[in-house]
Amino acid sequence: MEIERRELSLPGSYIDIVEGREVESLKESCQQPIPDSDSWLETELRRNVLLTTVDYVIDWARSRSVFPLMFGLACCAFEMIATAASRFDIARFGMDIFRWSPRQADLMIVAGTITWKMAPAVKLVYEQMAEPKWVIAMGACAISGGTFRESYSVVPGLNRIVPVDVYVPGCPPRPEGLIHGIRLIHQKISRDTIKKV
């Protein structure tokens, strides 16, 4: 055991000296940072200046983070659920999260028949949403009352109680139809201005 230890200790100290010199010389030669390569950047980015308008940036941000309100009144809600699920996947448009609270939602998708007894709740939920807010009337019932237009208990169209931005027809509309309506909302948002008129 003792012999082995002695044999190791002699070359060991030599290795330590060599290592110490190596560290010192590397530290000496590395006093300045190596410049990042920018050759892969495109010309505009290399100049590092972007010119745009405030409206464009705000609309860009808003239209790509529209949070819908979790809100299903009738059978259209199932198409809305399918739209949110993996096959149609509105997370592609930055709409991952259906908010339960109107305070956190930007888009109210009214999916289904609105009865007069439910109408005050629909109006209240719309009023609780923070500005800016948008509304989709989804399906024949929400647009005009649909089959139940003449009924004693059905609101003949969502636009009787709240202003509507996009109407998505169908009974019920397919998820593709709702996605088209959502894309129209995005287009509408991207034409908005923050200027007070």
Partner: protein, 146 residues
Amino acid sequence: MTVVLDYEAVARRLSEEFPGSVMESGKSGIVVKSERLRELAGFLRDSSEFEFDYLANLTAVDYLDYFEVVYHLVSLTNNHSLALKVRCTDRDKPVVPSVVDVWRAADFQEREVYDLMGIVFEGHPNLKRLFLWEGFIGHPLRKDYL
């Protein structure tokens, strides 16, 4: 599915127990007198031969000459079922005794029938409109409602 009882046999049995209470019995159910409804309901629920412990459905039909309130009774113990019916002829103020204290399930069902058909259930603890709002005029499922 439950076994549908032979209505004629049940009607005979009920006539034995409560003479004069059964008006008619056919293939669609047993029609009983509304003033005898509560004692019949209590008997149908408590007697061991019937033991209708579950009111599956309560609805009403407008036949223009009269209203008919239909009780679909099911016995979960004996696995059989029965359609019990009650008529009321007065269109202006149709009254039927409430069976809420016999079957709690009748609570909302009777309110729905009151709301849409305008039949008053005497003895109901909280008889007010269920689907429509206070102030709504008329009872929309009546045949003469327009």
